[in-house]
Symmetry: C2
Subunit: 190 residues, 2 copies
């Protein structure tokens, strides 16, 4: 089940040939992670990166003891912890907020596989560009929109997140106090 | 001059072997762009991406006729316009704010080169991961810090930007009114 899932998710971004699908199936390492597990901790150097097949994670900082969520990750999204590229201890946490299934890898074993199969590295390169552009859009939306507009944008573009993530986590992510989010929702429902 | 420059800039991120340096030199297309030129326009589909060898660009939106800057790009940074990956008209502008020298490419010719030289695609893949992590950090800084803290962070981490970019553009980028930025600077100088 997981292998057809990964091909289907990747096909949303780039065409996956049968040959590529076979390679992906051969080299994918897949694991399940229970809801509420910490994948990355502050201070930790993580060399694993992830591609979510099923489930949801959140990335957050503890600032003066308060959780500050800066990203949710769901099906078809990659997680590249900062310490994957810069070898410095993480400044943030990542935890699962649902039972989650991921494909995972680390730089050393990936370098080996890419040496033998440049097609796989090509896929990763293209996905990287697509996710980079998505990240840029998220930044710009954050900067350009008011809190209320951010809420509307999320509701329109990610109705799935609204369904599966607790309201206070959505408010936290949007940078809106829960009371204000309730007021916004009431106003919009009128 | 430009070819040694590009190797030096890339070496800041990943080790560049002599063989790789030769390939980069062979395939780099380099051009100069005058200060004040528009590289990407709203509504345009751009298939060119850039690596800055010298100079500075800004990315901005026109919102109700007002310029809103969301990013500066300087030496060693890549510019992947959104329409490079999603083929949709750009929602923003990118312009040079200094005379600029770039290495540039487009997806079709890059795919050709990568087919013959997987080492070059490997380099691009690694750079993509590094820039992705940098983008994530920029997002989190934006979300987690107050305007004054953002100003201090920029001053500490990018003193070069403070020198080369007009004060009102810095204020615009930080999301601070120019008068407020002057007040913050005065308070901090005391």
């Amino acid at each position: 089940m997981e292998n057809s899932e990964i091909i289907e998710l990747l096909s949303n971004y780039v065409p996956i040939s049968d040959h590529l699908a076979q390679l992906i199936t051969k080299y994918s390492q897949i694991k399940s992670i229970k809801k509420g597990a910490l994948i990355v901790r502050e201070g930790q150097i993580t060399k694993e990166c992830f591609f979510i097949l099923k489930g949801c994670m959140k990335k957050y900082y503890l600032l003066d003891g308060e959780e500050k969520i800066t990203k949710f990750f769901t099906e078809g999204e990659t997680i590249t912890p900062s310490s994957y590229t810069d070898q410095e201890p993480s400044k943030y946490y990542i935890s699962t907020i649902e039972d989650t299934i991921v494909s995972y890898g680390d730089p050393d074993s990936e370098d080996e596989i890419y040496k033998d199969h440049p097609e796989l590295e090509s896929l990763t390169r293209k996905l990287g560009e697509i996710f980079m552009v998505k990240r840029d859009k998220e930044f710009d939306i954050r900067v350009n929109l008011s809190p209320e507009e951010r809420y509307l944008h999320l509701q329109e573009n990610r109705p799935d997140l609204m369904q599966r993530i607790p309201q206070y986590d959505i408010a936290n992510y949007l940078g809106i106090r829960p009371e204000s989010l309730s007021r916004i929702r009431k106003r919009l429902n009128k």
